[in-house]
């Protein structure tokens, strides 16, 4: 029989417990919590990073929300998010389905090669894509589309050129990641279900619609979540791609924030932008969650 511990020993145990988990909390409070709180504080100050801070109330929020450039950045963020996420998830699903089928050989090879872009350095990717997507008509992408009789596109300066180039970069980098997640999801679906369905005479299409997709729901929700939040925080790709002039065609909200803080030394408005983005992400996540739940509920009713 187990000995009942004295109160003193219990305390000792929990002390060890806290000691063991403390490194995370210490690091988190220095590098995570403190900056978050400081950002909230800064969003009410006017500060150039070097001089004295000055309390300005809600002025920073007014400035940011009244700035057409901020709204342009918001628009860019959502457009690029849509352009990169939607095709990415659909294609990732198809790739995962193909990898999971019995027809494809050398699965390990494909899995690794799809995932490889995800572990390359973003900056390197952006530099390489910057070389592919250049304005000049001799650039690789422009020569390629020239083969099909298209006019060269100003990838670096035109409204849609910049967005397509950045979306292509995100697509290339993240499609493999989502493929692997979907593949894991597909593999966790028990074969029994498919066998049972086959015995009942279900077609392949019916199997996908009534077994694969419902069983994959949590995984799909997860990828949509991660991709949405990821695209709202899009930063390095456009920064390296459009360079320090930060032309408005490719400026995302985080890039707008960066520009405020580190090229214009306006840390107050930059923090205000961060706070606004924080709430936007919360709203997006909640909406995501509600839609996902609704989908789940209606499915239950139908089946």
């Amino acid at each position: 029989m187990k000995r009942i511990k004295s109160i003193k020993e219990k305390k000792k145990d929990s002390l060890y417990g806290y000691a063991f988990i403390s490194p995370f909390f210490i690091l988190f409070s220095i590098f995570g919590l403190f900056p978050i709180i400081f950002s909230f504080y800064l969003s009410f100050q006017r500060w150039n990073g070097l001089g004295e801070m000055e309390f300005v109330g809600l002025r920073n929020f007014e400035l940011v929300l009244a700035d057409p450039f901020f709204w342009k950045a918001m628009y860019n963020t959502f457009v690029i998010a849509l352009m990169s996420t939607l095709p990415q998830l659909i294609i990732a699903f198809l790739l995962a389905f193909a990898l999971n089928s019995t027809y494809v050989k050398m699965k390990g090879f494909f899995r690794v090669s799809f995932f490889l872009p995800n572990v390359t350095s973003i900056v390197a990717v952006a530099v390489v894509f910057g070389t592919l997507f250049t304005n000049s008509s001799t650039g690789l992408v422009n020569s390629f589309i020239g083969l099909f009789g298209f006019e060269p596109v100003n990838w670096g300066t035109s409204e849609w050129g910049v967005k397509w180039a950045i979306s292509a970069m995100i697509f290339w980098r993240w499609v493999g990641y989502n493929t692997i997640i979907y593949l894991a999801g597909l593999q966790s679906i028990s074969q029994d279900l498919y066998e049972a369905a086959k015995i009942d005479g279900a077609s392949v299409r019916q199997q996908i619609m009534h077994i694969t997709i419902p069983m994959m729901k949590p995984v799909i929700i997860f990828t949509v979540f991660i991709s949405t939040i990821g695209s709202l925080q899009l930063f390095t790709e456009p920064l390296v791609f459009i360079g320090t002039t930060l032309r408005e065609e490719g400026v995302t909200v985080v890039l707008y924030l960066y520009r405020e803080a580190f090229s214009n030394n306006a840390f107050g408005t930059a923090s205000a932008t961060a706070v606004i983005l924080f709430f936007v992400i919360i709203v997006m996540s909640v909406t995501n969650l509600l839609i996902a739940n609704r989908l789940g509920n209606s499915r239950k009713k139908v089946s």
Partner: protein, 430 residues
Amino acid sequence: MKKNLYLFITLVLTFFLTACNNGQESSGSSSVNQDDSPEKVELTFWAFGSTGYDELIEEYESMNEHVAITLQNAALADHHDSLFTTISAGSGAPDITMIELGFIEQYKEVPDRFYNLFDFGAKDIKDSFLDWKWDVGEIVDEDYLIGLPTDIGPTAMVYRTDVFEEAGLPSDPEQAAKLFETWEDFRKQAKIITESTGKPVTDSVTQLYNALRDQAPEQYFNTDNELIIESSPYIKEAYDYTVTLVADGVVGDIAAWTPEWGTAMDEGSFATLLAPSWMLGVVKGNAPDASGMWSIMTLPEGAGNWGGSYLAIPSQSEHPEEAYKFMEWLTSSENQLKSFESMGLFPSTPETYEQPGFLEYSDEYFGGINTAEIYAEAAEQVKSVYLGPNHSIANNEIIVALDNVLNEGGDPEKEWEDAIKRMKAQLDRQ
């Protein structure tokens, strides 16, 4: 439960305090060392790029045995990021730091973060430096010197001799220079070059615009930091000239610092390049096989300055006198000659231009020309100009406008007005 929470907090605090203690101990022990008879001084020195200062430091240390200098070298952007952070945080800054021209204005807004170099006798050496260079490091109204000049970036123009020959222009620098005396000449030759070779006369709108902008005696702001480009003619003239050449179709679209740009330099895909003194190293690096293909001449209508640095002592330093002594030595005309000979840092001390090592200089890559002499001439022509802390905000918008005119077929006047609107919106919130 509550007790546990207290325990947790104490634990976290102890962790913090021990961490802090460690820091103090190590700095404490180094001060003990300083008790040795000729007081030992350790200085940290932050620099960026290839300065060759490590050799000079060794020389200085052997002459002053009580001084030990640690040089920390980083890339330009990283260097200035770290500097900004340490200055802003109030700890961790070095004893001596290099500050590039584009970054010094923001520190002039907060002079108390740096020592006033006039307190250590910098007034005595003022005359040995170029005036326009010196002025930028000084806050005139307050009699406060933040930065001691190091190198400068006077501008000239390098050109491809093969492209010139193809266009039927003389490739010899002396004869060619006669055809490029004014910007009107430049436009005329540009048309000839592009018509006969199909190559743009210059790589990008930015470079062309910069060349003109940097010749102006005033730019975006007056000394009260008011935006003056609507009343001052210079920036508008530079802008108008640039868009005229864009309309002529003679300006290229090859962004600087891209791989394409390097290739274009190597292959000679454009005819001329705005080249501050340090750009020669960039050309050689990008086009190692094009030796003899590039030559050099002065820009039409004078010269400007692009880049160059200063040395400053953050007020966190505990040894400002020793730091200043080293800085004064490092920026002397003899040592600036050494930095020039080893790494091509162009001296800000006109005395250096008279020294034999400088007069006999010649560059095989540029056809054996004394490039140093051309830049020395350019350096003496540069005018003192006030940039102000918001220079890059204003400049960025003009570059965007020019890019729009070149690539998106924007109307120059409308783009100019939009740029001013964007500038004002941004400046309002500074």
